[in-house]
C-alpha cells in the first residue's frame, strides 16, 4: 500500500518476528512501547481501508490509540505467515505454563485474572491482558506477551507453553467442562484475530485453530459470579496441572 509522507515507519517485533509498520498518526508508535524500534526501511503494514472501516464500526473516530488497537488485524494476518497469530484472550502463567481465557470484550476475562491473583497471591502472573501472540512450534504452542494489554494495561515479560484454553461466558451458575473439538472449533477460530479479507486468510486462520485444538484442551467456563467461579477454575486448573506433572 502506498503511504503519504506523513506516515511514520517503525519495526515491530513480536514473538521473534519483525514486521514493518506504517502509522498514520505520529503518536501511534508510543502505545507499542519497546515492541517498536525504527525506522523501518521501506513500506510496511498499515491499516487497509477495510481494516479501518471494520474497526470504525465500534469507535467514535480513528486516532492514535485506535490505530494502535486496530493494528492487531494486519499484524495477526502477517504473523500467520510465520506460524504465529494474535488471539483475543487474557493470558496468564501458572506453574510454568500458559492459560488463555478467551471471550468477547466485556465478559470478564480481566476480572477472572484479577480475582485469581487476589485469591492466590504469587501463583499467577499475567502474560498479556488482552491479546497474546501465539507461536506454533514443532510440538507446542508458545504464548508470548504483546503490546495489546487491555484497559488494565497488564503486560507480562515471560512466554510460556500453552496448557489450556478456557472459553469464558456469563451464566447463572459456575460450571467448568471440557469441550469436544466440535463444540470448541468455531469459538476458538473466532478468537483469533484475522482480517477475513480473503479465502486464503480464512484458511490460514483455520489451520492455526486446528493446531490449537490439537495441542491444548479447551474448557468452557460459565461464570455465575466471582470469587466462587474463580475458585472453581482454580481447582480445575490445579487438577490439570498436577495431571500434567507440572
Amino acid at each position: 500500500m502506498k503511504h503519504t509522507k506523513e506516515h511514520s515507519f517503525f519495526k515491530l517485533t513480536l514473538a521473534d518476528v519483525t514486521v514493518g509498520c506504517s502509522f498514520e498518526f505520529p503518536e501511534t508508535h508510543r502505545y507499542f512501547g519497546d515492541y517498536v524500534s525504527g525506522p523501518f526501511p521501506g513500506e510496511g503494514l498499515s491499516l487497509s481501508p477495510e481494516d479501518r472501516a471494520a474497526w470504525e464500526k465500534n469507535i467514535a473516530s480513528m486516532d492514535a490509540y485506535n490505530e494502535y488497537s486496530a493494528f492487531t488485524l494486519p499484524v495477526s494476518a502477517e504473523l500467520m505467515k510465520y506460524g504465529r497469530c494474535v488471539m483475543h484472550a487474557a493470558a496468564f502463567r501458572f506453574r510454568g505454563r500458559a492459560y488463555l481465557i478467551a471471550a468477547p470484550s466485556g465478559v470478564g476475562k480481566s476480572t477472572q485474572v484479577r480475582t485469581l491473583s487476589e485469591l492466590y497471591p504469587g501463583e499467577f502472573s499475567v502474560i498479556s491482558g488482552d491479546r497474546p501472540v501465539l507461536e506454533a512450534t514443532e510440538d507446542e504452542i508458545v504464548v508470548h506477551p504483546s503490546p495489546w494489554n487491555g484497559k488494565e494495561g497488564w503486560r507480562g515479560a515471560d512466554k510460556a507453553p500453552l496448557a489450556a484454553i478456557i472459553l469464558l461466558k456469563r451464566g447463572e451458575t459456575n460450571t467448568v467442562r471440557e469441550l469436544s473439538v466440535r463444540n470448541a472449533a468455531a469459538r476458538v477460530f473466532a478468537s483469533i484475530f484475522q482480517s477475513a479479507e480473503t479465502e486464503e486468510s480464512i484458511r490460514r486462520t483455520a489451520a492455526f485453530a486446528e493446531l490449537l485444538l490439537k495441542r491444548a484442551p479447551v474448557w468452557e467456563f460459565e461464570n455465575g459470579g466471582v470469587p466462587d467461579s474463580s475458585r472453581l477454575l482454580y481447582e480445575v486448573v490445579l487438577k490439570e496441572a498436577k495431571q500434567d506433572g507440572v
Binding site: V181, R203, A206
Partner: protein, 94 residues
C-alpha cells in the same frame, strides 16, 4: 424454496469440524460462523456445485432409504436455518 450460497462464504475444516465463515465483504449480511454436521456439509457442497435443494432431498432420501417426502423437511429446515443466518440467499436473488 431454492437457494444459492451467499458470495464470500468459505467452508473450512478445523480438526474435521466443518465451519462456514464469512469473508469481510459477506459479514455485513452474515456476521456469524456456523458449525456443520457431516451431512450438512455435504448439502452445502452440493449447493456450491449447483445442485438444488430438491437434489439434496433426493440424495438424503436415497442415503436413508426414506421417501423423499420424509427427507425433505430435514433438508429444507437446514437451508432455512442457513437463510436466517445469511449464509444462503434465495436462488432468484442476483
Amino acid at each position: 424454496m431454492e437457494y444459492k450460497p451467499r458470495e464470500g462464504i468459505v467452508k473450512v475444516s478445523v480438526c474435521g469440524v466443518n465451519l462456514l465463515v464469512p469473508t469481510r465483504r459477506a459479514s455485513e449480511d452474515c456476521p456469524n460462523i456456523a458449525t456443520l454436521s457431516m451431512l450438512e456439509s455435504i448439502f452445502w457442497s452440493q449447493l456450491c456445485r449447483g445442485k438444488t435443494v430438491e437434489d439434496s432431498c433426493a440424495f438424503y432420501a436415497g442415503l436413508t432409504f426414506k421417501p423423499v417426502e420424509e427427507a425433505r423437511p430435514v433438508v429444507e429446515s437446514f437451508f432455512e436455518r442457513l437463510a436466517e443466518k445469511g449464509f444462503v440467499v434465495p436462488a432468484e436473488e442476483s
